[in-house]
């Protein structure tokens, strides 16, 4: 444990430091992050995690961006061993911003499934709008069902209205339909709701997603919009529990 504090202190990172100092400190950690003795990687992982947390402290925008750039460069550097890249991309999930989007996009296109998944997670959390575009572009090209499910979910979490058509296409595939429905429910705009009505009765999750969409409208104050969905769902769903949930929603939106 003491070891990583020494490394970090040597790199001058906890107080900020320039890009060169950050790069130097990260470079020193990389061999340890990929130590052939797996048990020995832990202290280096914690050192990098602490650097990322420190840089992402409130009010330290410049330090966060500087470290983000360094980590983004390492994430795409083929000379960095895979276990180190995995941990680096994980830190970008927690603190990466716009500066990391291009690198994460590149990683997500790579052959390594673990890294690809880490990059998707990082883009899902990334606050930059460009991250949404990156995930959307990836979904356009993805043909594997598991990858599509992950990407649909990420876009749903980001409530990306521009993805509705792409995600709705997933309603036609039994493997991806549940995830597509849940993502559309999270987006919950009129186009998403329309797609979900088309899936009601075919995909069990469509009803749940419609409830989610209605609940979101209700929370935003659009009681009339919510009520319309609850009412139609209560009349159309064949699921007893969905009907009960829709009726509960109707009561809540009663004054609309």
């Amino acid at each position: 444990m003491e070891q990583y504090f020494a490394i970090a202190a040597f790199g001058g990172l906890f107080g900020g430091g320039g890009a060169a100092a950050k790069t130097k400190a990260v470079n020193e950690l990389i061999p340890k992050l990929a130590d052939s003795k797996v048990e020995s990687r832990y202290s280096a992982q914690m050192a990098l995690q602490d650097m990322a947390s420190e840089a992402a402290k409130p009010g330290k925008g410049a330090a966060r961006k500087a470290l983000g750039k360094v980590l983004a460069a390492k994430a795409t550097d083929p000379s960095v061993p895979q276990p180190a890249r995995v941990w680096i991309v994980r830190q970008l999930e927690y603190m990466g911003g716009a500066e990391a989007v291009n690198a994460l996009t590149q990683v997500m296109k790579g052959e390594d499934a673990e890294l690809r998944e880490c990059a998707r997670r990082a883009l899902e959390k990334n606050p930059a709008p460009a991250a949404t575009a990156s995930l959307r572009a990836a979904l356009e090209k993805a043909d594997d069902a598991t990858r599509r499910i992950g990407l649909m979910n990420s876009l749903g979490q980001r409530t990306d209205g521009k993805s509705v058509k792409l995600i709705a296409a997933g309603l036609g595939d039994a493997k991806t339909a549940p995830a597509a429905a849940l993502a559309l429910g999270n987006i919950g705009n009129p186009a998403a709701v329309e797609a979900l009505w088309g899936a009601l009765g075919k995909t069990a999750e469509a009803g749940e997603a419609l409830l989610n969409a209605a609940n979101r409208l209700q929370a935003k104050g659009d009681k009339a919009g919510a009520k319309a969905i609850y009412q139609r769902l209560a009349g159309q769903t064949k699921s007893k529990s969905q009907r009960a949930a829709a009726e509960f929603g109707l009561k809540k939106s009663g004054s609309a």
Binding site: V38, E39, S40, R41, Y42, Q45, Q49, D50, S53, E54, A56, K57, P58, R90, E93, Y94, M95, E114, E117, C118, R120, R121, E124, K125, P127, A145, T146, R147, I149, G150, N153, S154, Q157, K175, P178, A179, L182, E208, L211, N215, K240, S241, Q242, A244, A245, F248, G249
Partner: protein
Amino acid sequence: MGKKGHVRISRRVFLKGAAGVGALAAFPAIVPSTVFGQNAPSNRIAVGHIGMGLMMGSHFGKMLRTDDVQVVAICDIDRGKREKAKAAAESSYAKRDRSGTYKGCAAYHEFEELLARDDIDAVFIATPDHWHAPISVMAMRHGKDVYVQKPMTLTIKEGRIMSDTSRQYGRILQVGSQQRSERGFRKAVQIVRNGLIGKVRTIYTGLGEFPPPQTLPEEPIPEGFDYDRWLGPTPWYPYNRKRVEGNYGGGWRCFWDYGARKNGDWGAHHFDIIQWALNMDHSGPVEFIPKGYKGTEYQTHIYADGTKVLRNHPTKKNFMIQFIGDKGEVLCSRGGLESCQTTPAELRDTDFHDQETLSDVPAGFKGVWVYVSDQHEENWLECVRTRKTPICPAEIGHRTATICHLNGIAERLKRPLKWDPVKERILGDPEASGWMDRPRRAPYIYI
């Protein structure tokens, strides 16, 4: 359970059938007590158990011994555990069946199949924490009532979803923070809530420590163990036995990926009792300070009125929780009424009619009368039957788990957090806010 040798059918199946019969014929004036008696099929609750590891043991045994419960299905991703549990259930029922045999407990690898069964009323969920929310939410959407182990969730967002789902779908959800159903803790809560030790300023509680998580080398995945599904929505790591084992000293509980470490494991018990005693079940603290921050000796969370909860500060006589008020103190631990002690000592003799039920509040009692449950699973079963709210419903479980998670996030980030318990938001810290939920690994997307 019905009389020996009777065919076992569940309440749900019975009622479905009865409704059909009722449409065809007038109801008989006299019906046998075995049809509508306490243990008749009309009252028997059909239960499924999901996650047959360490924590399920006592629930499973208790349900098998409960007369008006029928365990109709079990589920585990470990073939060995699955087969053992099925055999145990069938053997238990066979001993009470005239024929001496019983084959009526289905075993599932995937919980989705168990939840899809219309004849199951309720489920116990005792998986690792990262599966609690996905399974609970899906169960409630399928119309099942739920008993879920503590801590209720892996993330704060999951808790909000679970609580809202429980309310919207009208499902009974009990969180397994069973200390609420222990008389010693209840007594302590009653004393605090009734102001007998004055204004509480400070609370000490011991959660212990786990060893740090480890980076572990890859090992072969054992035959019959579905490791990918064990990981579920959490990030992929190579298999190692130490990562997945369930034990009280570590195992998966050590890893951030599957919970909030000790803050989740024991915080879900002790922070829960503290919330109850402070009458904060629908709110929570406003600040979380990790151990080590600017010399902070003990991890601390603080309520809006300044009340502080210090983790691992020594308590008198090693009691689990010590409430310190202006006029006295209360100590409480597990082990019944004797495990509640007070200063001054006579406070403990305050008569709250502990043995009585909630409906038996003595006439003229002016104080605070807290929810009375003396057995956590029985309280849940009673609520499944009566649709009454259980002692630890989803909203309470969510609020307690939120404290566990926020302490965990502060510990991980090594900095204090400010929390708005009304809007349920971390204030002024985008990175920390990102931890309110976690991305999920495909294809394990359920919420």
